[in-house]
């Protein structure tokens, strides 16, 4: 057998090995319930509860922003994002948070927002009277 093939086989073996270890890095989108149960660092997808309080007061702590989201099961909980309040936050449709539960709150270090894209925006901008 050619040496090249041997090398290739070794690589495939390594690849399979790596893929099994990669499973550790994966998770499904958790619900709050699951996050409470497993206590690990998870990703939660949910929607912003727009009727609940959003709190960001940089004078107090510029790295503390709290709000409420509703997870896929409909459960609403408080989330603390250890960062500033991002722009357009109120507009977000879907929020993905990475973090873990701590007591009653979900402490997130990372957040990804999906905002209604302007490419799909079917809104026509009307000139305001004032102009």
């Amino acid at each position: 057998m050619k040496k090249i093939y041997i090398v290739a086989i070794v690589m495939v073996a390594v690849a399979i090995g790596l893929l099994t270890t990669a499973a550790e890095d994966m998770s499904t989108y958790a619900t709050f319930e699951e996050a409470i149960q497993n206590g690990k660092r998870v990703k939660i997808a949910g929607q912003l509860a727009k009727d609940k309080e959003m709190y960001y007061n940089p004078e107090e702590d510029p790295n503390y922003f709290s709000f409420y989201i509703r997870d896929t099961e409909g459960e609403e909980r408080k989330v603390v994002l250890l960062s500033e309040k991002p722009q357009d936050f109120e507009l977000s449709e879907q929020i993905v948070l990475t973090g873990e539960m701590k007591d009653d709150e979900f402490i997130a270090t990372d957040m990804l927002m999906k905002c209604p894209s302007k490419y799909k925006d079917e809104e026509v901008y009307i000139k305001s009277e004032a102009e």
């Binding site: 040496k3 510029p62 402490i107 490419y119 026509v124 901008y125």
Partner: protein, 955 residues
Amino acid sequence: MEEIQYIGEHLLPGEIGQFAIVVTFVASLLSGIAYFFATQRREQAEANGWLRIGRWAFLTHGAAIFSVIGIIFYLMLSQYFEYQYVQAHVSEELPTKYIFSAFWEGQEGSFMLWMFWHVVLGVILLLRAGKWEAPTLAVRSVIQLFIASMLLGIYIGFGEDPTRIGSNPLMLLREVVDAPIFASADYLSQIKGTGLNPLLQNYWNTIHPPTLFLGFASTAIPFAYAIAGLWTGDHKGWLKPALSWGLFSGFILGTGILMGGAWAYEALSFGGYWAWDPVENMSLVPWLILLGGIHTNLIANSTGHSIRSTYVYYLLTFIFIVYSTFLTRSGVLGDTSVHAFTEMGLEAQLIAFIAFFLLLSIVLLAIRNKSIPAPEKEEATASKEFWMFIGTLVLLFSALIITASTSLPVYNKIREIFDPTFAGQVITDPVPHYNKYQIWIAVFIGLLSGTAQYLRYRENNFAKHARKFGVHIALSVVISGLLTYLTSLWIDIKSWQYAVLLFFGIFTVVTNIDYLVSFTKGNLKMAGSAFSHIGFGIMIVGILASGLNKRVISNNPFVMNGLIDGASNEQMSRNVLLFKGTPLIMDNYEVTYMSDTVDTFTRTFTVNYKRKNQQGDLVEEFNLHPNILYDKSFTKVAASNPSTKRYLERDVFTHIASLPQVEIDMEYRRQREDSLNYRLHAAYVGETITFLDTVDLSDQDTFVLKQYQAQLVSINRNPSHPDYEPEEGDIAVGGRIKLQRMEDDSIFVVDPVLVLRGQLLYSYPSQINEISSKVRLAEGIFDAVFGPELDMEYESFTLKQGEQFSFKGHQIQFGGFNRSPSHPNYTPQEGDIAVSAMLSVQSPDGNVGIAQPVYIIRGSRPLNLKDELPEMGLHFRFSGIDPSSETVEVMIAKSDAASQKIPFEIATDSLRSDYIVLEAIEFPGINLFWLGSVLMMIGLLFSMIVKIRQKRALA
């Protein structure tokens, strides 16, 4: 329904453009067919006939796509908002320099950019490829056919739900959007453009996309050559031209990717140049495979080995380009990527695009597999080609595992089709996940690109060189070890894996320099590869330095620790609060928010950094100028642009993470101002009053009572205020007020202003941030100040110059005239005759003052402007001049200054607004990353030039 005759629409360019889009599509089809037969037909005359048709069709196709692009630019520059694409990407405010960015902001525009480059490169092939013209252009024409179909925007099928093919950039807004506004014939006068996303209003977005798309387009050339090689069965002839193009492609695509990183680092607030975002990954993957192809192509050219692999690599490169297009444009990435497009109904077409070329490649490879030549003899273990080939496998391997992880959403989608309850998998923390694997890839690349340089092609007597090889390797290992140790003194390596990587990064630099010096002996032909590999090694060191030792210096030491396990301090406290003018010690720096200026929508901040040594002496000082861009309505921050101080060995990166809400949203600021809890007070001039007010305590539903002391110091009829711009006819009053919160020592002096302009009252309050208070004057101040005027009794005096007299105990002397008088309410006009009377006054208690009432003759009308000495309560008017007797008439009245209380209002709940939330990061050694990666590109470019020259020399 009656058809509406719309007013002001420009339909002709759109119609021409629509026609051109159809021509683009049809001509590429024709060109593909003609070039196909030009390749297939053996008979020379017939083949030439097809070739001519193919050429004309391709050129027609090119002319058509250029026309479409030209028309869209014309529509954009003319701001014809009746076109949906123009309306979506241009606005009245958009500076013309961003017109290119606006053009390729949308999917359609970027498709056209891609096609544009295909045409440009296609014409080069048409002119220079010789016998390869027909097959390669046949392939390109079919590629163009697929892309052109994305722009068609035609409906196929019947009934309720016809299938739409492509998304047409020349659709009218009223054809795309169903809104009541289109019921009016003059809707055009009422709509305006959405404009370019402010984040993209940046010069990087003018240069990065065209470079990247040129890179994308260039990968289609080695691909076309590979298909052509398999098709015609000439397995060797295509290798030489393909290599030059492969190197070109590697250079351009790599540069495009790097520009993306530079953009992210320099202009966006990502705080880094690479984040393993799916969109980034999928532009890197084809490049990695292309590099594999370049290496096997080199092997094939030198030894005849690896022709089959070269085919596979070049075919895969382009297929991955299309796959990457699919991932970023189909919307499948959904919420895993920051910057993927959302779906536009092109999924099926994109899948067809991939499937066609994937199947074509597989079928051709299968058919020709047997006939692809390979030397009988296997590569020797000590030969260059053997280890180079292993290296390409490592690259491919890297590309495949990146693809596997990035494709997780695709895998989820497929699973969901069969099992709707399947819960999609997702990578929890992408960055460590990718790094974990790519470290070892980089280690192997370092090892292989270091050692393989010393080996020779077709080595059949390694024993002869083994000694020399051993000496060089051993020496390199020693030097690299030493350098690794030295580097570890500078940067913190953190773990043994990174130490290994650092060693091999340095190793490839050392060996390649050695190779350049001892082996090529000034023969620059081989220098390109050495440059690239040295660049790679330097880049690795740069990544380790800037990535591992990236330090958030805007750390707030007071933040709660231990709030979350596993989260580093950096993650917890990236931002710091800076009050204007108050220095804060951050890491080694003393940082002060100095000032800010607003220029239309941009607000630029000046942040001062000082570094002191242990003795407290200033070592260095610099200012950074991060800015924010407001949206058009001034209700939000549309973009925050960082500012970076560059040093040779490190960068200090700074960006505005947040601002007080009243500084972000001017609407909110007005509301906030209206909702302030102002309390009305009144005081005589000079009087001090005390009052109590409540101060909220946050987080608790309680408040405390605090005592305040306010003194009305004086009234000013010629006031100034930072926000007040005087206009003719204004009646303005200012009041100086001293305010103190009783338990604090500081006394704050403010000068709020109230202006009556016509019927409208304008208030210019003053904010005292330190005690969260705001002071403004109340409307009643006008009555208090001007009211007495009405019932004031003036006494008239006729005076000669120098005359002295007494008025209610005051000694007054008429000192003379001032022929160029100035008065707060007087703006000189052409033809005015203006003069003031200088009256010096001494009050009974010994105070002195000078009053200057003004007398004006404008036209034939006499006017006079009063002056007053408020402290004495004296009012003066200069009412007439009698030239014959050389006397003046002056009217004087005395009012009781303390007769009326002056009303003013104080709110103690006005939150301070003089701060910024700042993020600052130090990146050590980031210039090594840029240097290394640029060197890599230069190496590729250099090799390409060498190859082209060699080819010329042969011809």
